[in-house]
Structure formats: C-alpha cells, structure tokens
Amino acid sequence: MPAHVAIQGVSRRFGDYTALHDVTLEIAPGELVAVLGPSGSGKTTLLRIVAGLEMPDRGQVLINGEDNVMRPPRERGVGFVFQHFALFRHMTVFENIAFGLRVRPRAERPSRADINKRVKELLDLVQLSWLEKRYPAELSGGQRQRVALARALAIEPRLLLLDEPFGALDAKVRKELGQWLRELHHGVAVTGVLVTHDQEEALELSDRIVLMSQGRVEQVGTPNEVYTRPRNPFVFEFLGETSHIPCRLLAGALATAGGAQTAQNGVAAAVADGESTLFVRPHDLGLRADPSGPATIRHITPSGPWARVEFLLEGRSLYAALPLDSIAGSGLTPGGTAMPLPRRGVLFADGRGTMDEPLHWAVS
C-alpha cells in the first residue's frame, strides 16, 4: 500500500549553514511529488531525512501516521534511487536487483525460485532482461538508471525516493526516461518523491510541485497552479525565464514603460500607487517597431521556431520570444527602437511583503 507521508516542522543545520528551516509538507498516498529548487535549497537533505540517511535537528517524519525519525533506515521500507545510481559495481544487474531480497532475515526471505521470478519480473518491467548478466560498468547511463529503479522496487517499497534521477543523463535520454517513469509510477502502487533542479522535469512529471529555496518551502501546488499562480518572485523566476518590465501604478491603472499599456484590473485595491515591476514570460511579451518607443533592440537570435529578441528598457536588459515567422516584415532590427507590449504578467507587492494572492494582470 502506498505511504502517506507527513513532514512536520523539520529543521536541519550543518554548522552555520541552515539546510532546512521548519519544513512542513504532506504527501498523499500514490502521489508523485517533485521537490524543485536550486542547488543548496535543502531538497536533497529533505529526501535523505525522509529515507533516514540523515537525522533532523527538529521535527517529525510520519509515514502512515508513525513517527520514523528514530527508526533505522533499513526498516523503513523506502526505495531510494541515488543521483549517481550507486549500483553495486561488483554484482551483475541480476544480483543488484536481487540484493534487497537476499539480505532479508531467513524467516522473511523468499525462496531462491521466488527471488528469481521476482527479479525476472522487474527486469521485464524496466525492459532490461537481456542485460541481466552484465556488470554496471558495461551499461549506459539510462540503463543504469533503470537498474537502480528496479533494485529499489524489488523490496516493494511503500515510498520511492528519487534524488535527481535524471541529473546524470543527457537531454534526450532524460526526456524518454521521464515519460517512462511517469507511466511506471501509474502502474506501481507507490508514493513517489522526486528531487530535481530542472523545472521542466518537475512540471512534466509530477502531480504536485514543492518549490524550495534556502531551506524553506516557497510554494506547494499542482504544476499548473505554481506555473500560473506563483506566490512570489522566486517561484515565478525559477519556473521559467523572466523579463522584468518596469511599470507605474496610478489610481488603479497600470502603465508599462512608454505609457503604452494601461489596464483597469483592480490594481489599486491591493498595491499602492508608484513604481513597480511586472513579471512577464518572454513568450507573453510582444514588441512593435516604433521610432519613439522606449526599448532599444540589441540582438535578434533565431532559436528553433522562436526568435529571441534582446532589448534595453530603462537600463535593464530584457528579452522577448517572438514567433520566428513574425520577425520578417515586423520592422524590428538590431539598433532600432520598439514598444514592449506585455500580454500577461504578474505583479508582486515587492518590498511590501509577500502577498498571498499576487495580482495577475492581462490585457483585456
């Protein structure tokens, strides 16, 4: 049965460095949760505490309602996939997967035939039956990753923890394995926690995302929630590229640089008048060639179906992603001036404390 995990008020310091600060988090049975954050945000420490490889200074880790902090890791029934896989280098693929079954106390150990059967099933599941006699050194990165996963699943864990599972793989293998893992998770009844610094991976694979920064949880929500309704600038910036458009608020109206865009969106109710910054995704930002526009175009770089247009606006270097087809005939040229036209953005009451509900602004 998949585990219900409740992390309550967990803190951990290493000397002067606070790795985790009062982290509270609940994970429902069968969920696949991605813990997302930059390196040093404490996400791996959190995973290691749940596994029992690390002790929290304060707080509790409840698995199915039972406090696990003092329980030795070997009794937790947790599957762990290490970033660098940590396969047993002196054992074959088969022996690696069988390890968790072979080390069980005699009374609980399956018979030799049952172990064989179980390992074969797992080899089929990860599609590596033909490699069972190979050693880890003879496998590719993606194959090692799948062996590590099969090895962790062999003990039928209630909880599967994955530490940067695709971090050591190249981009193409990463994509394929990610999708494969997502499907696998649907087929196996297990609660999953995945640690990653790659926002795309988190957005694509998980049911929910936990964003962490400097040992604190910044926001928890479904991929759609955190992407469309980020709670603070950190979340917005970490989930994708950001252009910061200077803007002014005056009597409930928002004006971006150059005074072009105004909108009545109930702005005044929440944010006081004055200078502010509109957070915009580059693909939500248009540019119109305008001889008296406030933006100066610096470079236009094609990238796939998009053109990356870099421009200077009030001393800030920003960029917009425009469809490549729209560049020709738009009049946009390096050195020319233009009017930035944000279509959608988020306004945070920066410097005035984080709002529970930031303003989502869109051109109506």
């Binding site: 596994a51 490889l53 290490f82 280098r89 090692r144």
Partner: protein
C-alpha cells in the same frame, strides 16, 4: 617498426642507453639473484637439502611463516578499521593520525626495534611490570611479531584510504536502505568493493614481513632455533661460514619474494582494471 623509425632518438644513442640499462639490471638485479641459487646448489642438491632440513633452518622457516601470518591478520583488521575511520569521517586530529600512520615508513627499522626494547625490555618503561607478571616480549616471539607489525602497519591502510575516498559511501547507503544489516553491508558490499586494494596491500605487507631484518634482529636476540627468522638465520649461517646452508635458506626466501612479485603483478593488472571499471561507473 615504423614508430621506432620515427623516434627522434635513434641509432647509437638508443642502443647505448639500452645497453647501460641492461648492464645495470644484470649487475645489480639479475646477477645477485643467480648467485644466490648458484651458491645454494654449489655443493650439490644433497647439501642444499641438508641446509634446509637442518632443525634450526626449519624452525626459522616456521617462525617466519608464523610471524607473517599473525602480522597479516592484524594488518587486515587494523587496515580496514583505520581506513574506514580515516576515509569516511572528518574529525579533529585526522591529518595528525594520517601523518603518524606513515611513521613506520620513515623510521629506520633498527630504530623501531630499539624503541621496542626501550619500552618492553628489562630496563624499559614496562619492563618491571612485565617481569612481575612473568611476561617476555623482548628476545621472544611477541617482540618479533610487534616489531614486524610496526614496520608493516601502514601498507594496507595506505592502499585502502584513497580507494575508499574515491568510491564514497553511496553503495553502502543503498545496501542499508535495501534492508541489509551493518554486517551484511560490510561483507556483501564494502569488502568486495575493496578486495583488490586489500589483497594488494596485504601482499606488500607480507613481502615486507617475511624479509624484515633490522627491527626483528634488535628484538629477537638471535637465539638459534628459537627466535631466528629466515633473514636472521641466513645471517647467522653466513657469519658461521656455512655458505651453502645460508644460501639454501636465502634461495627459499628469494623464491617467496618472487612468488609475491608474480602475485602482485597479476593483482595489479586486475586491480587497475577494476579501478578503471569503477571510474566508468
């Protein structure tokens, strides 16, 4: 052949350098080895066998093997424990211990032997206490074992520490999370991971243990047939002008050394292969 032709140092110089190298090898390595065997068999095989079958010689062989065996066990246990502590944990004094660990390499074996005499000898620090408890260390087997352990102590640990540092502890963590106990983890994961390094260290320390002369000679007291190891016996026979007996035992010791060398070469190949594998993994 084309490679050699392309080399900038060809002709006379190459041949001269090779000749010099070969001459030195022959003079200083090969010839002495041949001499040992030539001298040993100089008076025929019966004399050779008599030299070895001499009760004192047999006792020296037994003693050498015994000292080497005890040293080996101690070195394996100490080497594993020390390298585990030093490679896996950071604690105050760690670098000091690492330095002290090299002491036996830098201290002359004779000095090591004298230190033991100063500690455990009749006039030594513990001499009084040992005498009242009727324990003999100096001029007896325990002293010889301690001296041999002292000079061979760093070999295993020095081999294992860098290996353990390179391998890290993730495999052990994985084993424990898969349900293995500490002992299972050690036997099934840690030990196999280290096996080539461990064997290599043991072999080096064993070669040294069997051949050790200086430290052992100071603490043994050279009691014929009692505290004589092979190197000491060879020296004693040689001093007695019993050349054939001396070289018969010497040839045996040389054979043991050659065997060790062969084993070391084989291991080195496998060990390096395993390391290369580990680096890919």
């Amino acid at each position: 052949m084309r490679d050699r032709a392309a080399s900038p140092h060809q002709g006379g110089w190459t041949i001269a350098l090779i000749a010099v190298a070969l001459l030195f090898m022959t003079l200083f390595l090969l010839l002495p080895l041949v001499t040992v065997f030539a001298q040993a068999f100089a008076s025929g095989i019966p004399a050779y066998l008599a030299g070895i079958a001499d009760p004192n010689a047999l006792s020296a062989i037994r003693l050498t093997l015994l000292v080497a065996a005890v040293t080996l066990v101690v070195n394996v246990i100490f080497g594993l424990a020390a390298s585990w502590c030093l490679a896996r944990f950071a604690f105050p004094g760690r670098s000091l211990i690492l330095t002290v660990l090299d002491l036996p390499f830098s201290v002359s074996p004779v000095v090591a032997g004298l230190m033991l005499v100063l500690l455990y000898g009749r006039q030594g620090w513990f001499g009084q206490w040992l005498e009242t408890h009727d324990l003999r260390i100096i001029f007896a087997l325990p002293g010889m074992i301690i001296a041999t352990i002292f000079v061979t102590l760093p070999f295993v640990a020095r081999e294992l520490i860098p290996l353990m540092q390179e391998q890290g502890a993730e495999e052990e963590e994985a084993a424990i999370l898969l349900g293995a106990s500490g002992w299972q983890t050690f036997l099934r994961v840690t030990l196999p991971k280290l096996r080539w390094g461990l064997l290599y260290g043991v072999l080096l320390s064993n070669a040294r243990a069997m051949g050790e002369f200086g430290a052992v000679s100071v603490v043994s007291g050279n009691i014929l047939g009692l505290t004589d190891t092979m190197p000491l016996h060879i020296r004693a026979m040689y001093d007695d002008y019993n050349i054939v007996a001396a070289f018969a035992v010497a040839s045996l010791l040389a054979c043991l050394a050659l065997l060790t060398l062969v084993a070391k070469t084989i291991l080195e190949r496998r060990f390096l292969g395993a390391q290369r594998e580990a680096r890919i993994a």
